[in-house]
Symmetry: C2
Subunit: 480 residues, 2 copies
């Protein structure tokens, strides 16, 4: 009966017997024993149906009290790993087969390519200048002042403190018609668009027009929600609104009126008005992605289109360009009739956004830290843009910088036929950059074709200050 051999050498106690070799470690003898037994069953070292040592003998082997073993067995019986039957002792449950950990074959968000030395890919602001200290100060103030119920389940629209701070900010800085009641907090533009796509599907909308230059990520999101995405031609005055009249079943149009992404032009006044007119006549919606509205360098930013008709335009903004995408805070300013639909979509999704982050941002805005940060980054980005233009003027005088002096990225026009070679050359020099071609979106039967255009989209905001000089140098070296 007591045929197991005790190994009482140094190290954790182990027991050999009925194929049982246990290494006990971790805090608590019983928890350690339970874990070791569970692991032995899981990995198959204790085979299905096999009988465990009687509690008395295992206890003696391990030098623990019998009660410890009895409790450990009971726990594993309750969990379904073991079975205990009168007369037949404790056995490994027959139905449980060992789990074989499959070979690691999980997807990764970033492939394991060597990282480029300099990143000029679009999308991110200067992350090295994220205001960590000021953000933590705001977090401390916000969390200290928050009522207890701020930590509980709350309003799916978002914290009223943040919606109030944003209503004030957006009215003041972007000319948005923003009452707190119209604002819904989400995790960024991407999330807001996903909620909107759901609401549009519930309304049986079949298509959302998009600009012929833009991010495939958003087109993919809309397509995934079952929406067609016919493109609008884009020229130097922005998206050609008249194209909408020729499209069928379009219930909404997604646009970047203040600064077309990524070509960098502004929607001209006539087309701003025409867009609102289309929305009124067609009963459609304009989805205004105001992704970098804070950043204009030659004049005050053009106000949001939404102010022209808050019942026809959905305004989207976020901190992804002004602070950092990792904060995951964005907002939608909604036509009144859409509010219940978006609240419902949110309530059936992530339910609500982090109260702690929302309160922190509300404090960050109300204290003036947000304005200060935006002003400081505006100066910094403007200086970068000026330096880029100046260094190109000196070292690559044939290269034209297109688009308005605004935002976090610009377009460098290249000689015809060189884009692909320049992008590849850049990659070899450790410079991650995209050609404009990657943002083109045309469909076969739309009746027009975008002109051939070789260009680079340069996110001059992304590099850190210390990398910037190297970036400029590398960029000039790859210019044809």
């Amino acid at each position: 009966m007591n045929d197991s051999r005790t190994n009482s050498a140094n190290g954790p106690p182990t027991v050999f017997g009925t194929d049982l070799h246990l290494e006990l470690h971790g805090p608590g003898l019983r928890a350690g024993l339970t874990d070791a037994l569970r692991e032995a069953v899981r990995t198959g070292r204790l085979a299905s149906g096999s009988r465990l040592p009687a509690s008395r003998s295992l206890a003696a082997d391990l030098g623990v009290s019998r009660n410890t073993v009895v409790e450990s067995y009971a726990e594993l019986v309750a969990e379904g790993w073991l079975t205990a039957q009168q007369g037949s002792g404790t056995r490994v449950a027959t139905r449980v087969e060992p789990h074989r950990a499959a070979a690691p074959n999980t997807p990764r968000a970033r492939p394991d390519k060597p990282r480029p030395r300099y990143g000029l890919l679009t999308g991110a602001p200067d992350l090295a200048n994220f205001p960590r200290t000021q953000w933590l100060t705001a977090a401390r103030r916000a969390l200290t002042a928050a009522p207890h119920d701020a930590f509980g389940y709350g309003d799916a629209r978002g914290r009223v403190e943040l919606r109030t701070a944003l209503a004030d900010y957006l009215t003041r800085a972007r000319g948005v018609y923003a009452e707190p009641e119209r604002i819904i907090i989400c995790s960024g533009f991407h999330h807001g668009l996903a909620l909107m796509a759901q609401a549009l599907r519930v309304r049986r909308v079949r298509a959302v027009a998009v600009e012929a230059y833009g991010l495939d990520l958003y087109r993919g999101l809309l397509a995934n929600a079952g929406l067609h995405t016919p493109p609008l031609y884009v020229d130097d005055h922005g998206a050609r609104i008249e194209d909408l009249a020729r499209l069928h079943d379009v219930g909404a149009v997604l646009m970047t009126p203040a600064h077309q992404y990524p070509t960098g032009v502004a929607l001209c006044p006539d087309r701003r008005t025409a867009a609102v007119e289309w929305a009124r006549a067609a009963g459609g919606l304009i989805l205004e992605d105001d992704y970098d509205g804070e950043f204009r360098y030659d004049r005050q930013p053009v106000g949001a289109l939404q102010g022209l008709d808050p019942e026809r335009v959905v305004y989207f903004g976020s901190v992804s360009k002004s602070l950092a995408p990792g904060v995951r805070l964005g907002w939608m300013v909604l036509p009144e009739e859409l509010i219940p639909e978006i609240v419902r979509a949110k309530a059936h999704g992530d339910y609500m956004t982090s109260a702690l982050e929302q309160l922190t941002l509300a404090e960050f805005i109300a204290s003036g830290a947000y304005d200060r940060h935006v002003r400081s980054m505006r100066l910094r980005y403007r200086r970068r843009r000026d330096q880029l233009i100046e260094v190109l003027r000196q070292r690559a005088p044939g290269i034209r910088v297109a688009g308005m002096p605004a935002g976090l990225q610009t377009v460098l026009e290249l000689p015809r036929g060189t884009e692909s070679a320049v992008v590849q050359d850049a990659a070899r020099q450790g410079l991650a950059i995209r050609g404009l071609t990657q943002f083109r979106y045309e469909v076969a039967d739309c009746g027009w074709q975008l002109p051939e255009r070789d260009a680079l989209v340069v996110n001059y905001a992304a590099p850190s200050d210390s990398a910037w000089a190297g970036v400029l140098d590398a960029l000039c070296r790859v210019m044809p």
Copy 2:
């Protein structure tokens, strides 16, 4: 020409003329003028088509430079509010009609009923004991140590720091088979279930079985995703797994094995094994909602069902009960084959979860603060539960406390036919509480009926320490 009268009394400068009365305030003369003009157009005080004063005369009236007015007009032309045509001056754009702010009729998450004095509604932990200081300490450490790119766009699965900390914690504390690669971070159980519902729909699953006692919120979420939700009978051993054999098209079953919500029983060992067997035989999934697995007062918590078969069980956890729902952090531990589908659902939804919050929780767990908090709350909740039982024994000896000594809520059995009256009586006494009936879920043709049962679901965790004595007293007063 210069027919407008200047009001140069104290207060902001205003101008009367061509129906124009402007009040300039805010920082910056030009911005103030632009805002005032925009508002005048928006509210209709400046009618469509009407002509604005010449820039020179308005400048003189306001005592500002002409350039200020010219720039202000240009900005509003660019925004589409005004039009400027050679020879006809500057006019209000004819197509823009004033926006009428509709009567406030927006939905509210909480109706404006008088707030009850004491809340015993289920779901929330003790929010007054949220560890604000320790959380801020973790946030400071995490944000100070984070690499710059942590603030950028990242892995949709979540930060590896948090997934690693959770893998360790869940293995140790809940017996979960958790590798970091299998973990996806989301905003709570609700959000995880929403992602899962999408993935199940893509797999053409038509029904998800649920427990006959549970939250209508989750059934509603599943129904909204187009899934049927046939119920499983619930008795003293948990959900009756054999019911699954009689149901058609069921691709998954949503369960609370460690502590049935809200009846408070544990799924018995036989049924744990039977559930896994069903999943293997039917190719189905078990969705394990381990909402309060940390809180068991009489013994070590029963380990997660997921450990029995990590390829058939999806494990869901969150900080909503252990810390607070307002943090909005949860996790799913996934079968390997489901990972790409859930990542896709997340990438088409909120894209990723706040990096700052994730890093803070990772630090909070790694530093041991999470374990300390859970231990401290466990003691606190256990004491509350003991006090509840003791005070009922003294003052309402007929009332039985049902369910295991675990979790944040318990069930008080009432005499037949009294539940509704007790709940109403409680409301009159300022005690917000729900009857068990509200959690029942039966359908017409399922072949069984839950026994009649009058009971209260008491979330003893929710009240603050200072309110607790009052809660106990009020509760005893409403007992029949």
